[in-house]
């Protein structure tokens, strides 16, 4: 008796939890753990959306970001783009309904994946300041601009429209979001400033204008007018499908036989492969997909595993490209040597992916301390949870000593270096919804390592050359200092004139080492930093002013 009472009591407390309520309590899952990160996440989600929209509409993105300090740890974040705009009816859902979006139900490389981001930012703003999000969007020059003030009904995961009106907006098309939220602004490695700079590195086709809370304007100009290749949408590859997903696909399909379902809903499955899978699973190919039981579905999964299926097409990936990745790094980082490597696409669990690595060496970067690792997934910078990321793992597992960087066991190498790693995929396997770290798939780690090694070899060539030139100059310098001493000793031994000996030895040194070193020096562009002192003294000692390579 007592038990039923208890159960009944408990039953009274049990009710639906809305997604919004869940996230309200678990905001850290979405990247709103603390004030500083919240500000970054809000900007990040809005910028990601803007860039995705511009690229899908094939428009060169121009994004304005403005942060205004309103005191009391409150900030107004304004993000404006020149994208295609959003049709009026969709605006409330896009900004004030969680898990609403175009990107979840497809396999295509894009920044956003789940349709949580921007509405979560709206919700966070509403929770911390009580103020609605203000959105204005226009879809064409001769269309009106629509202005909305929106809140999110967290109990029902529905938009609350506080104000909706048509407004004048001098832009031909685009969207502008304004959020008031609690946050904190600090510069440094996990700041909005850093985030936008990194966005500019991996999106060389984007121009960003940024005004930070200190009212400093920073412009990240585009380095190319070439839009990235539109990534193609692909169907899932059988190797990447799990039981739950297969059951869902079976339930949703329009096709009426298993064979048709397999050949049409998956990539790389032809009639032959479909038959093979059915035979393996002992399920007739003409079975209606909706009538396939859970057990048969499991058999199908096993059959897929045992069937040889060619890898998914890889043209669905849009890499940055070696040239543009290097350009992007070059315009945002002042270094003396740059290189970039794009691997060919590879596959993990049926999902195509591609790894790219760019390295910037020397210049203004501090020679002490570990290297600066920049991680990117589908052109989005990853600023948090570095240690949990497979990119970090790949970098630490690579032996950097042969490439001229020092490294203690299992740690990041040290040196004046930025290593930027980009992974593009139709489905980037993040370790959590806040999309901060990439899961440890051996295929991914391996590809990253191969890319790092390739880039490392190019770095090595440069570093070694630099060392050689430096040594040569030091050597020449050393000899010049020794010459008067040797001449003095020789003159004391033999009675010959010291000046004559000095002159002759100096002639020898000019012919060989210095000349050679200076010639090599000129081939190394932008060589300005630590060698200046050596060069200056060499010049002085040489008495020649004609080697002005700076």
């Amino acid at each position: 008796m007592a038990e039923t009472t208890k159960a009944e009591e408990l039953a009274k407390k049990q009710r639906d939890i809305s997604v919004s309520e869940f996230f309200e309590k678990n905001r850290h899952l979405l990247g709103f753990d603390n004030k500083r990160k919240a500000l970054l996440t809000a900007v990040k989600e809005a910028v990601d959306n803007s860039l995705d929209a511009c690229e899908e509409a094939d428009m060169l993105p121009e994004v304005n970001v403005e942060l205004i300090d309103m005191g009391n740890d409150r900030f107004r974040a304004i993000i404006e783009d020149n994208g295609p705009g959003i049709v009026e009816a969709q605006i409330p859902k896009v900004f004030a309904k969680l898990l609403y979006g175009s990107k979840f139900h497809r396999l295509k490389q894009s920044r956003g994946q789940q349709g949580i981001g921007i509405s979560a930012s709206v919700m966070y703003a509403q929770l911390t300041t009580g103020r609605p999000a203000k959105i204005i969007s226009k879809i064409g020059p001769d269309k009106p601009a629509h202005y909305y003030e929106l809140k999110l009904d967290t109990a029902n995961n529905k938009p609350l429209i506080l104000k909706a009106e048509e407004q004048e907006w001098d832009k031909p098309h685009g969207t502008k979001v304004e959020l008031d939220l609690e946050g904190s602004y600090l510069k440094g490695p996990q700041s909005v400033d850093e985030y936008l700079k990194e966005v500019a590195i991996v999106n060389p086709h984007v121009t960003i204008t940024y005004v930070n809370p200190k009212a400093e304007q920073i412009i990240f100009p585009r380095a190319t007018d070439k839009m990235p290749k539109q990534p193609a949408e692909i169907k899932p590859h059988p190797y990447g499908v799990e039981l739950g997903m297969l059951l869902k696909m079976l339930g949703n399909t329009e096709y009426r036989t298993l064979q048709a379902f397999l050949t049409n809903e998956f990539s790389r499955v032809g009639p032959g492969t479909a038959k093979q899978i059915c035979e393996q699973a002992l399920v007739p190919p003409n079975t209606h997909p909706k009538k396939i039981s859970r057990d048969d579905a499991e058999k199908l999964i096993n059959a897929i595993k045992n069937t040889k299926i060619i890898s998914p097409p890889t043209d669905c990936i849009s890499p940055i490209g070696e040239e543009l990745f290097e350009k992007g790094l070059r315009k945002e980082v002042n270094a003396e040597f740059y290189c970039a490597v794009s691997r060919s696409p590879a596959v993990y669990r049926g999902n195509p992916f591609q790894v790219e690595v760019a390295i910037a060496y020397g210049g203004n970067q501090p020679a002490e301390g570990t290297i600066n690792l920049l991680r990117f997934a589908n052109r989005v910078p990853l600023l948090y949870q570095q240690g949990a990321c497979s990119i970090y793992k790949s970098v630490t597992q690579t032996n950097w000593k042969p490439y001229g960087l020092s490294q203690s066991n299992g740690a990041l190498p040290t040196g004046p270096v930025i290593i930027a790693v980009h992974i593009a995929s139709v489905w980037v396997p993040f370790t959590s919804e806040s999309k901060e770290a990439i899961a440890h798939y051996p295929e991914i780690i391996n590809e990253v390592k191969l890319a790092l090694q390739e880039a490392g070899r190019r770095l090595q060539t440069y570093v070694h050359k630099k060392h050689r030139v430096k040594n040569q100059l030091e050597r020449a310098n050393l000899f010049e200092r020794y010459i008067p001493e040797v001449a003095d000793s020789l003159s004391r031994i033999t009675g010959e004139s010291k000046d004559k000996i000095v002159k002759k030895l100096n002639e020898m040194i000019k012919k060989s080492d210095i000349q050679q070193a200076i010639m090599e020096m000129e081939t190394l562009k932008g060589e300005v930093d630590e060698d200046t002192s050596t060069k200056a003294s060499t010049k002085a000692a040489n008495g020649s002013e004609n080697h002005d390579e700076d």
Binding site: F479, R481, V486, L490, R492, I493, T494, K504, E507
Partner: protein
């Protein structure tokens, strides 16, 4: 007869000095010739070190092989040594010009200075100038004494011997508790009376003082000689002269460890770093008296074992492989015993048997029984 020979020796020294100076000047002109030809200036010298040391089985001494090395000025690894060699050569030339002698330490300070506009010193440590002097010995073919450079006085001697040095007559038996301190250059010493049956040379001054206090040399009718640590050239040359001119047996008393044994090796066969002077320095008649590993057992010294360090062990291995020891069964047996002990013993361990045990029992017994290692 004797007088004549002394004068010859003085004349010989003067002639040697002149010849050494000529060699230095020749070296200078060879370098200048390179410079005039536009060639990388270089100095050629024999390689020093085990790889270029030949053990002459007949004379039982070490000699330098004919491997030579070139030291170039325009070579980062060489240029500093190149400069050091020439600088020391210039210093020696000056010393010879004014007929003055300098110690190794003097030469170091004469060479030490900072090169203008750098933090580089021509020489940083005395070992560098010492090495340069050894190099010059190789290059000129004359010993450093001929270059007017003397080693520090480091040793003492006592015994019933009368010598004449720089015009003074010295009786080694009448010099109080300190004994006579051996000069670095003993070429000009004239022996006037030598009344001794043998010479004991020991590596430790403390042991020498013990024996001197006990008047060991008087009781046993011998000469006792010591240095502090490695045997200086003056001492080696003096021992050699006593051995060849007066046919006295030379016995070595050293610690029971690889370093003590190496002192014996240097006396007997010559040293690796000075292999070029082996014929002048090596004393093939020298014998090792103790402390042997057998002594450790016979005199019950195991209680005073000191554990061998890693350095000791590797030194022991090196010595085991030296050509002059490799086929010597007696020594190989000693090496093996020490290895098995894993420990070494100091001479002073004998004092545990009584303060004068060494002079009253150990040494007389060993010499009477002729328990010696060749």
């Amino acid at each position: 007869m004797q007088k004549q020979s002394t004068e010859t020796r003085k004349e010989k020294e003067a002639r040697n000095n002149q010849d050494a100076k000529k060699e230095l000047v020749k070296l200078g002109y060879e370098v200048i010739e390179d410079i005039n030809k536009g060639k990388n200036p270089h100095i050629e010298l024999s390689v020093r070190g085990l790889s270029n040391v030949i053990y002459d089985k007949e004379s039982k001494t070490l000699a330098l092989g004919d491997k030579t090395a070139q030291r170039f000025f325009f070579n980062v690894a060489h240029s500093k040594k190149f400069l050091q060699t020439l600088e020391i050569a210039a210093i020696c030339k000056t010393l010879l010009d004014v007929s003055k002698h300098a110690s190794l330490r003097d030469v170091f300070y004469m060479a030490k200075r900072t090169i203008p506009n750098t933090r580089i010193n021509v020489v940083d440590e005395q070992t560098e100038s010492d090495k340069a002097i050894e190099d010059l010995e190789l290059i000129t073919g004359y010993s450093r004494e001929n270059l007017n450079v003397n080693a520090n006085k480091m040793g003492s001697v006592a015994g019933k011997v009368i010598v004449e040095d720089a015009g003074d007559t010295i009786d080694w038996s009448k010099l109080g508790s300190g004994g006579w301190s051996i000069p670095s250059n003993v070429e000009n010493i004239k022996f006037k009376k030598v009344d001794a049956k043998y010479v004991i040379y020991m590596e430790k001054a403390a042991v020498w003082e013990r024996l001197h206090e006990d008047k060991f040399w008087e009781k046993q009718n011998c000469i006792i000689m010591s240095s502090q640590g490695q045997t200086t050239r003056g001492i080696r040359r003096l021992l050699q002269r006593l051995s060849t001119e007066h046919k006295l047996p030379i016995y070595v008393l050293a610690d029971n460890d690889p370093w003590g044994w190496y002192i014996y090796s240097v006396l007997k066969f010559g040293s690796i770093s000075l292999a070029h002077m082996a014929d002048e320095m090596a004393i093939s008649d020298v014998k090792f008296l103790g402390i042997t590993c057998d002594d450790v057992i016979n005199y019950d010294l195991k209680r005073h074992f000191i554990k061998l360090t890693d350095k000791d062990i590797s030194r022991l291995k090196q010595m085991q492989n030296y050509e002059w020891f490799a086929k010597h069964k007696g020594w190989q047996r000693q090496f093996k015993m020490m290895k098995d002990f894993g420990a070494k013993v100091e001479i002073q361990a004998l004092s545990s048997k009584g303060i004068s045990f060494i002079s009253e029992k150990y040494l007389p017994d060993k010499i009477r029984k002729q328990e010696l290692l060749d």
